[in-house]
Symmetry: C2
Subunit: 239 residues, 2 copies
């Protein structure tokens, strides 16, 4: 959308590009524009590595005065580069994927996208009430995996495969559970867990054993990471 | 230190307790006072569950005007309660523990303290250049496990037991590595990993296998969580 332009240095906070970037801090604008912001060279490198082109890139000192770039950053000062990207969504699928129900913390959503990139071939499927995976916090927590592994959006009933719920009080330990591909690991919100209608839609459940003297539950990102590791390992033949 | 006082409602930002709380946002003051702040009812509940008493508790509307409590909060507005606690440190030990070298991100340090609480009986041992586990971010990320499982501080050479380094390019996969108690899982900083002198001080190394199409490495908190899960599970008899 901004391709082919010259690159005059932006010196006004009223510049249209800066206005766009500022607006994309809010979900309603991201949803409307279908665009999101990735801050920092590491994330821009991750986009390039995934073959994803930015709609717009601003580099401090080249395209924009550094203080102005800082002023639109959600990371605070010292941002050296920032890109605007088109939101991309995948379809559910793969031999191993994750379904998240009502996970409201964007850091957890981003971390689980990273974990799925590491251990699974399928996407992270988000229920409609999950945190926006394209929010600044989620994008940062994904460490760029949002580019290589776009998330999917669906209700659990629309996700095919063997659906295994991770539930703290399930009688079967994960290490003893049947893990048959295509496997969908299903996890609920931090406090509430999976609601009754989601639990009715799964094919089985398992728990991650924790110490008796340990905390009552695992953070959803930790639980998803552990389950993805175990499933990948087992499905790769390490019983 | 503030026990036995009446509880007049604090109405001035120059109040000594508020000054103390503000100062504890900085590491140098935490180090000097040996105190730290835990914000929010969940963390205060976690302290109580671990049998840890606060030096000072402020509840919005009871002890302090809500806007004044918000003004000393690092979480932003809406803080309902906040406690000041004495920093407690443990000694290295246990059948399963973690050693972190130069992990600078307080969120990762806190998350790993939580994971060790869930899966291990020993503490998280921090090299001197790790992030402060009593920083607001670390305390929050520990979800209160900082109270039940105080961290330890030591050089790797001072930590006894079988020291297993988690290294991305180790030839042995974690699932095939010998895991003999007392086991110390050793992990390095996000980018740098374990330095040469730490690698010389370990007894073995293993990697967590990730997909070929995955990211180049795991976040240190994810790696520690997975390794703790695997070690706990194997040591509990699930081969």
């Amino acid at each position: 959308m901004f391709a082919g332009e010259n690159r005059p240095v932006i010196t006004s906070k009223d510049n249209e590009k800066l206005k766009l970037i500022r607006s994309l801090a809010q979900r309603k604008h991201r949803d409307r524009e279908g665009l999101f912001v990735a801050e920092g060279e590491d994330l821009l490198d991750a986009a390039a590595a995934a073959g994803v082109e930015a709609e717009l890139v601003l580099v401090a000192g080249e395209d924009v005065e550094p203080e102005l770039l800082d002023s639109v950053s959600t990371l605070g000062s010292g941002t050296r580069a920032l890109g605007v990207f088109r939101e991309r969504w995948a379809a559910p699928g793969g031999q191993l994927s994750v379904y998240l129900h009502g996970v409201g913390d964007p850091g957890n959503v981003g971390t689980i996208i990273r974990a799925a990139h590491a251990f699974a071939d399928g996407p992270v499927v988000l229920s409609p009430d999950c945190a926006d995976p394209f929010s600044p916090k989620a994008v940062r927590a994904s460490m760029g995996s949002i580019f290589a592994r776009p998330p999917a959006r669906a209700e659990l009933s629309d996700v095919g495969g063997h659906r295994l719920a991770l539930v703290p009080d399930a009688p079967t330990e994960l290490a003893g559970a049947a893990l048959e591909p295509p496997l969908v690991l299903c996890l609920g919100a931090e406090r509430e867990g999976l609601p009754a209608d989601a639990l009715e839609a799964v094919d089985g459940s398992a728990r991650i054993p924790i110490s008796e003297s340990g905390p009552g539950s695992l953070n959803v990102a930790m639980a998803a990471t552990v389950a993805l590791y175990e499933a990948r390992n087992r499905m790769a033949g390490h019983a």
